[in-house]
């Protein structure tokens, strides 16, 4: 049987960083991913990665404070301290690995401004930082010789009691199921953006890891904290990076006015994302947009700057909306972008389930709290990917493999999948269930939320789950059956959607990305706490965890 001390699920930035650390820590390590590593969604990150470099007069404590304020004081301050302190070294590591960061006039790493931060501390490669980093991390993966199962889809975990024993995975190209034994698994499966429609996220971002971990008994936390990005392109909903505003772009309404003046007189367009998205939604609702959109104006930045630093997003605007940002403002609106919530972990990536770790967007060490600062997510993947890889490697040294009957495990899973393939065609399609889920999430778990809307979503999801249990899979073949893969993903999406909606309904206040019209203010007395969701006999069960506060006491948030 295939057997590894540490099995990393997911080969985005978090996953590859974790695997490289685990291997360096002496563990027999493998990585498994449903797409080739360089196809992972990390490549979509455009704007950059934050770090406070002391030789540039910056200070990690300032970065920490900006992050905490950005999180609307819901982030755990111990984890935030660790991340911001480690940022400098992590960034230099990346540079030494070969990332082609833009430079300043002295040949040192150059910075750009990003939202919610008082200082320019975002390091970048043009406007394709994520892709540049992901490909370099893949280079390091190749160099390390780590075993990589590419285009293998993890369908479930094998557990002995609670303790993880291994995973079952579908080799997509052949349709064959495999059991892989592992002492520890690290979930680095990314977010769950696709359960919103539209979303800036890639089609593969379907919350698989959150769903798998949830079903294995792990706690999900802060799931109501869903980030809407202020500048997603009209129509397709593809992202136009905050880098545009970082380089000086303006937001304008239908009359050409810079409306952010009313909402964040100091930081203007560079206030934190929740603030800007709410401002936009308010303007759109007041009829100050055009076709439900406002405008991102880059025309004053000049062709040379745009071509050097924003060329990819310019192309996206031309390709997908027919608008050239050098010549005209482009139509944008807030769109679902990121989930701050995820699998609850400690500062070493360990979850409440023995043997299960998590890092990156699927995890929640709680560095983002109620609202993530732009360019803090790449940092999160690198810092906590590395830490969980280190910890899993040393923990697995003292662990034994857990025996299980491979044939039986594979046979059972095969039977489950065969049953899906054997369903009669009842005329329903998973595509239409996914669309219905996406629509209700986008409508009711939106920039502004209220009780009636969220209850509507919570009534709909069980109906969708019932349809899902009967939905046919049209492709009955073995080889590269993407129809089957999507059907499996939809199951995770429905679980994540439910966890998000119950958490949002539970939080009876407005904080960070959670803005309720029926509870419009922040209520530290009752809600300065995390909401957790675990799987119970009769559906999701709620719980609470305290917020860790080290030295920054919650205060009113103004930009």
């Amino acid at each position: 049987m295939l057997e590894h001390d540490v099995l990393v699920i997911g080969a985005g930035l978090a996953g590859m960083r974790a695997a490289i650390a685990a291997q360096a820590g002496g563990a027999n390590t493998a990585i498994i991913s449903k797409v080739h590593p360089v196809r992972s969604h990390s490549n979509a990150a455009q704007g950059g990665i934050n770090a406070a470099l002391t030789d540039r007069g910056d200070d990690w404590e300032e970065h920490a404070y900006d992050t905490i304020k950005g999180s609307d004081f819901l982030g755990d301050q111990d984890a935030i301290e660790i991340m911001c302190q480690a940022a400098g070294d992590s960034l230099i590591d990346l540079e030494h690995m070969g990332v082609t960061f833009n430079r300043d006039d002295e040949g040192k790493l150059g910075t750009r401004a990003f939202g919610g931060q008082r200082r320019a501390r975002t390091f970048f490669v043009g406007d394709f930082t994520g892709q540049a980093m992901l490909h370099v991390m893949f280079e390091q993966l190749v160099k390390s010789g780590i075993r990589s199962y590419e285009e293998w889809f993890v369908t479930s975990l094998i557990q002995d009691g609670e303790q993880v024993a291994g995973v079952l995975a579908l080799e997509i190209r052949t349709g064959q199921l495999h059991a892989i034994r592992a002492k520890t698994v690290i979930f680095c499966t990314g977010g769950c953006g696709r359960l919103f429609e539209p979303s800036t996220n890639a089609l593969i971002v379907t919350g698989d890891g959150m769903g798998l971990a949830y079903n294995a008994g792990a706690r999900l936390m802060d799931m109501e904290m869903v980030q809407y990005h202020p500048t997603t392109l009209a129509g397709s909903g593809v992202l136009i990076s905050e880098a545009a505003r970082g380089e000086g772009a303006f937001l304008r309404d239908r009359n050409g006015d810079r409306f952010m003046e009313k909402y964040a007189p100091n930081m203007m367009e560079l206030a934190s994302r929740d603030v800007v998205s709410r401002a936009e939604q308010t303007e759109i609702d007041a009829g100050n947009g055009v076709d439900g959109c406002l405008f991102l104006d880059c025309t004053h930045l000049g062709e040379a700057l745009i071509l050097e630093k924003l060329s990819q997003i310019r192309e996206i605007g031309i390709d997908l909306a027919g608008a050239d940002m050098i010549k005209e403002p482009i139509p944008i609106r807030p769109g679902m972008h990121y989930i701050m919530g995820g699998i609850k972990t400690d500062i070493d990536g360990l979850t409440n389930v023995p043997g299960i770790y998590a890092a990156g967007e699927c995890a929640n060490v709680s560095v983002h709290g109620g609202n993530r600062l732009g360019a803090n997510s790449l940092l999160d993947t690198i810092v906590f990917g590395e830490r969980s890889g280190n910890h899993a490697a040393s923990a697995s040294r003292d662990m034994d493999f857990i025996e299980f009957n491979e044939d039986e495990a594979v046979r059972k899973e095969e039977a489950r999948i065969q049953a899906m393939l054997d369903r009669p065609d009842n005329g329903d399609r998973w595509g239409s269930i996914r669309q219905a889920l996406g629509d209700t999430m986008n409508k009711n778990i939106a920039v502004y939320r209220n009780q009636a809307g969220m209850e509507e979503t919570l009534r709909l999801i069980p109906e969708l789950k019932a349809r899902y249990a009967q939905v046919p899979v049209h492709n009955k073949g073995r080889v590269f059956n993407t129809d089957l893969v999507f059907a499996l993903e939809l199951g995770y999406m429905l679980d994540c959607g439910e966890a998000i909606a119950v958490s949002a309904l539970e939080r009876k206040e407005s904080r960070g990305a959670q803005a309720r019209t029926d509870f419009p203010t922040r209520d530290d007395e009752n809600w300065l706490k995390h909401i957790t969701v675990t799987r119970g006999e009769e559906g999701p069960e709620l719980g609470y965890l305290p917020v860790t506060i080290t030295k920054w006491t919650p205060e009113e948030r103004k930009y």
């Binding site: 960061f101 430079r103 006039d105 394709f128 390709d319 073949g477």
Partner: protein, 322 residues
């Protein structure tokens, strides 16, 4: 907007392992990409259609395929701009790679070739405490190459790979250049020398025929062929000229610089070497065929009329830039 999408399909499970064409008619939004249309087909019409796609924004490299005969990213190609006069767009899997199912091709050899160029930075000497100091220009130059998303469009349409599957190919060679041009990678005498020696072996940089196809189809402006030419310059400047490719390039330049045109009789002789009898004999059949078809170059090589101006051009470009 009504479109007809004609797809070359292949299903190894279906008993008859031959590809076949299937046309779908559907209505898509005006701004729809070819990928949007394919996704709509998959979700609403035929779930058995397999393809790779993810980001929808030309960054993950999943969706390279042939649209109307040329490799593109389906997510970067407007359906409305791809229709012929009958409103049909033709979609096929990428070329030069075996088809797995429908529009999905097997990338194994693609990645093997990437691995073959030791695709990771190999600095020599001690690491600096902070970042390596490097000019912004040098990084921007590299970034224009690291912008490669490994989609395989160049490999799909490479005319050399079509006849010689062992050729490293445009993607792997561009990747290699990304290191040989990196000021942080080992110095010229060490790592770079070894890299360029490796890349000068048969199936390497000298096997490119400069057809420019990869430059045309690359959706990210990486211009692989230009990188291959830059590799050749690096190799020659390190004195790695002792191979057919480099000798061919030199003989070519020499001939044009001297007479203003190519001496096609002497070029192959200079390329393989005057005393390389087996290679010279191998040209005989080509020569004979050329002769019977009236295509043999003139035995006496004459200069062009205004050869002086050609020579002036050469001396101008060989002066170091100011």
């Amino acid at each position: 907007m009504d479109v007809k999408v004609n797809i070359r399909r292949y299903d190894p499970d279906a008993g008859a392992p031959a590809s076949f064409w299937q046309e779908f008619s559907l209505a898509v939004p005006e701004t729809a990409t070819v990928l949007d249309a394919l996704i709509q087909i998959r979700e609403e019409m035929d779930g058995t259609l397999s393809l790779r796609c993810s980001c929808r924004s030309a960054i993950c490299g999943s969706c390279a395929m042939r649209v109307n005969g040329h490799a593109v990213l389906a997510c970067k190609t407007r359906a409305s701009e791809s229709l012929n006069s009958e409103g049909v767009v033709t979609v096929e899997p990428a070329g030069n790679m075996p088809v797995v199912k429908d529009l999905v091709v097997d990338f194994d050899t693609f990645w093997d070739k990437i691995r073959a160029v030791e695709p990771y930075l190999q600095p020599q000497g001690p690491e600096p405490e902070g970042e390596y100091i490097a000019s912004n220009e040098s990084m921007l130059h590299l970034s224009s190459v690291t912008a490669c998303i490994m989609c395989g469009a160049c490999v799909s349409d490479c005319t050399v790979l079509e006849v010689d599957p062992t050729f490293l190919g445009p993607a792997a060679l561009a990747k290699a250049y990304r290191f040989t041009a990196d000021p942080r990678d080992g110095d010229a005498a060490g790592v770079s020398q070894r890299r360029l020696e490796q890349l000068s072996l048969p199936s390497g940089m000298w096997d490119c025929t400069r057809c420019n196809e990869c430059v045309q189809v690359c959706p990210k402006g990486v211009a692989p062929m230009d990188r291959i030419m830059a590799l050749r310059e690096q190799a020659i400047s390190l004195g790695l000229g002792d191979n057919n490719g480099a000798r061919h390039a030199e003989a070519f330049t020499e001939s044009v610089a001297h007479s203003g045109r190519l001496d096609e009789l002497r070029l192959p002789v200079k390329t393989v070497g005057m005393f390389n009898l087996p290679a010279l004999f191998s040209f005989l059949p080509v020569g004979l065929r050329a002769m019977t078809h009236g295509k043999l170059p003139p035995l006496v090589h004459k200069s062009v009329e205004n050869v002086q101006s050609v020579r002036r051009l050469f001396s101008k470009v060989s002066q170091p830039p100011k």
